[in-house]
């Protein structure tokens, strides 16, 4: 029994990372109405920047603070010089541009850091495990759960309690209306795109000490983010949270029952949810 409890808690840790990964994608979709296929690439960049920062002798905490801003700024720039010009095109070209972008970023990563992966050391304070009686859990994973929970609350406040958040939420209902109300929608677009990329990068930084870095982690993450958004329902914060946790827990439990098939079961879970609720668990018809 203890094994399963441990796996559920593990799953919550993984699930919170998945939530971070998916929430940016979901918010970007909600407002800009396109799926960002480069989302996994921003996650990839986050992980590699963290790896590089530590290789330069900076510490993990600094990387955790700076990397999301760096990737966010990069995304902001990309939105301004590139994506802005495809908004007028048919929707498949929005997707194709980001596919091209993801390809460029992935290949750049291989050119700079090589095709083989690497490990990222867990920060010294968080090495080892915590013990409560016979319950043992890695410190770092506990930190990830705590940190992402705090971050999720902050993000929720940003979306629900600030002016920018109102603009984002109103914009996902009707962009024209928001722009009629005198808000510079394009500025909101850039900010939201940057914010989405920054959360993906944050997920990358946090994931790096757990799973290491390798150039193809981006596309894997993209697939998982899609599953979560499909399971939870598109464009919603709570959907990403519920979907992320569900998928994280499914993956963790399956990794004790059938290790080779754990990742397969993520997608099977998605198919099952789709059968029962075609618009996702929290999706609006």
């Amino acid at each position: 029994m203890n094994v399963y409890l441990l796996q559920v808690i593990n799953g919550i840790g993984v699930g919170m990372l998945y939530f971070l990964l998916a929430v940016g994608l979901s918010i970007i979709f909600g407002l800009l109405r396109f799926v960002n296929f480069a989302h996994g690439a921003f996650y990839l960049l986050g992980a590699y920047f963290c790896f590089q920062a530590i290789a330069w002798g900076l510490n993990f905490w600094l990387a955790l603070l700076i990397v999301p801003f760096v990737v966010g700024a990069l995304a902001w720039l990309i939105e301004k010089v590139l994506l802005r010009y495809v908004y007028a095109q048919a929707h498949e070209f929005h997707i194709l541009v980001t596919v091209g972008l993801a390809l460029v970023i992935q290949e750049l990563v291989i050119v700079i850091w090589g095709p083989l992966g690497d490990n990222v050391a867990t920060p010294a304070i968080l090495q080892g495990v915590v013990m409560w009686g016979d319950f043992i859990y890695p410190k770092y994973r506990l930190f990830v759960i705590g940190f992402t929970s705090v971050f999720a609350c902050l993000l929720w406040w940003l979306l629900e309690g600030t002016r920018l958040g109102s603009a984002v939420r109103a914009g996902s209902e009707s962009t024209e209306m928001v722009s009629l109300l005198g808000i510079n929608v394009f500025r909101v677009f850039s900010l939201v795109f940057a914010l989405g990329a920054a959360t993906a990068a944050l997920a990358g930084v946090l994931a790096a000490p757990i799973r290491g870095v390798e150039p193809f982690m981006g596309i894997e993450a993209l697939g998982i983010a899609f599953v979560i958004v499909v399971v939870g329902g598109m464009g919603s914060f709570s959907g990403a949270l519920v979907g992320g946790l569900l998928i994280g827990i499914v993956q963790s439990i399956m990794s004790t029952l059938w290790p080779e098939g754990a990742r397969l079961m993520i997608y099977v879970a998605m198919a099952a949810v789709l059968l029962l609720r075609p618009h996702g668990l929290l999706g609006r018809g």
């Binding site: 498949e92 290949e107 750049l108 697939g223 958004v229 499909v230 098939g261």
Partner: protein, 330 residues
């Protein structure tokens, strides 16, 4: 420019199959062009004719590879039977994926096709007894085609195999031309242009989409089967996301206005990548830039570019006779 007629497309396709052996040194590279042209045709049917952007074409490609791989290594069935089986399996896989994905539209549909391509990848990865897992299926034989022990066509040399692939390619191309020009094909265009209208007119949109999905899966699986037979392996990479992406990129680069554009896209990609990959292992980056450029500046792909050049040349030849309206004719 006059609309590219069915006959002209057919002649162009025939010309490609005949010219490739004349201009190319490597039989297997020429075969690869036609194999990917098949896969791209399948993708074009969805994207160009029905407006469905599918990131799941690798599923059907891989299923085709695995089906012939398993049948030829384990059962010793004749090659044509294995090919037909691959086509059937591809169509069935497409029906299954389509049944889930087609319930959604637009972006949701796109995401679902990618998620399903990951599902099938991990499925193949998790069943090493059947698929060879990470290693793939090795030593897929290439038996000669014969009737009752009487050999009709040995496939031992690359050009002999090319002949088989070229004949199949031409047959499929002709069939798809027939299909896209039929009432069925016209209905697909109606769905692409305005789904709500097509539904209002009384067409069962979902059924049509499912049918074209199955057709696309069948053609793509045939391509995958040919590649497995040519290379002698059915690797895990054939069912990977990268394969889906590659097929889609070829489709977009070629253009989606007509079927022959797909042949152009596949030929460009295969030959370009063969040349570049020997120069620079990270040539995929250039492809990324190319994809961005195509999305920004030439949404009609190589075919559209050729069309524009042709128009410009003709306009110069006959001044004051500039046909403006043909620019957006599809």
């Amino acid at each position: 420019m006059p609309r590219l007629t069915t006959h002209l497309q057919l002649i162009l396709a025939l010309a490609v199959t005949l010219v490739l052996p004349l201009v190319m040194q490597s039989g297997s590279l020429a075969t690869e062009v036609l194999i990917y042209a098949l896969a791209v045709l399948g993708c074009n049917l969805l994207l160009g004719y029905t407006g469905l952007l599918s990131f799941g074409q690798g599923i059907f490609f891989g299923m085709g590879s695995y089906t012939v791989g398993i049948l030829l290594t384990r059962s010793g069935l004749p090659l044509p039977v294995a090919l037909v089986a691959a086509v059937v399996v591809g169509a069935l896989a497409a029906l299954l994926v389509g049944w889930f994905a087609i319930r959604q539209r637009g972006t949701y549909f796109v995401m679902l096709t990618l998620a399903f391509s990951q599902l099938f990848y991990f499925l193949a990865y998790s069943l090493p007894d059947l698929t060879g897992g990470d290693n793939g299926l090795l030593d897929v034989p290439r038996p000669a085609i014969g009737v009752g022990g009487h050999e009709l066509l040995s496939l031992a040399s690359p050009w002999q195999f090319y002949a088989l692939v070229a004949a199949s390619f031409f047959l499929v191309f002709w069939l798809l031309l027939r299909i896209t020009n039929s009432v069925f094909g016209r209905t697909l265009l109606a769905i692409r242009d305005n789904e709500a209208r097509a539904a209002a007119v009384g067409y069962n949109v979902r059924l049509f989409k499912l049918a074209v999905f199955a057709l696309s899966g069948a053609v793509t699986a045939l391509a995958g089967a040919f590649l497995a037979i040519m290379t002698g392996i059915a690797p895990l990479s054939s069912i990977e996301y990268h394969t889906s992406e590659m097929i889609l990129v070829m489709t977009v680069i070629g253009g989606t206005g007509n079927l022959f554009a797909s042949v152009l896209g596949a030929a460009f990609y295969v030959l370009f990548s063969d040349w570049l990959s020997s120069l620079w292992p990270r040539w995929l980056m250039l492809l990324g830039f190319l994809l961005i450029a195509v999305s920004l500046f030439m949404q009609k792909g190589l075919w559209g570019l050729g069309e524009r050049i042709w128009l410009a040349v003709r306009r110069k030849g006959t001044p004051g006779h500039a046909p403006k309206s043909t620019e957006n004719g599809s």
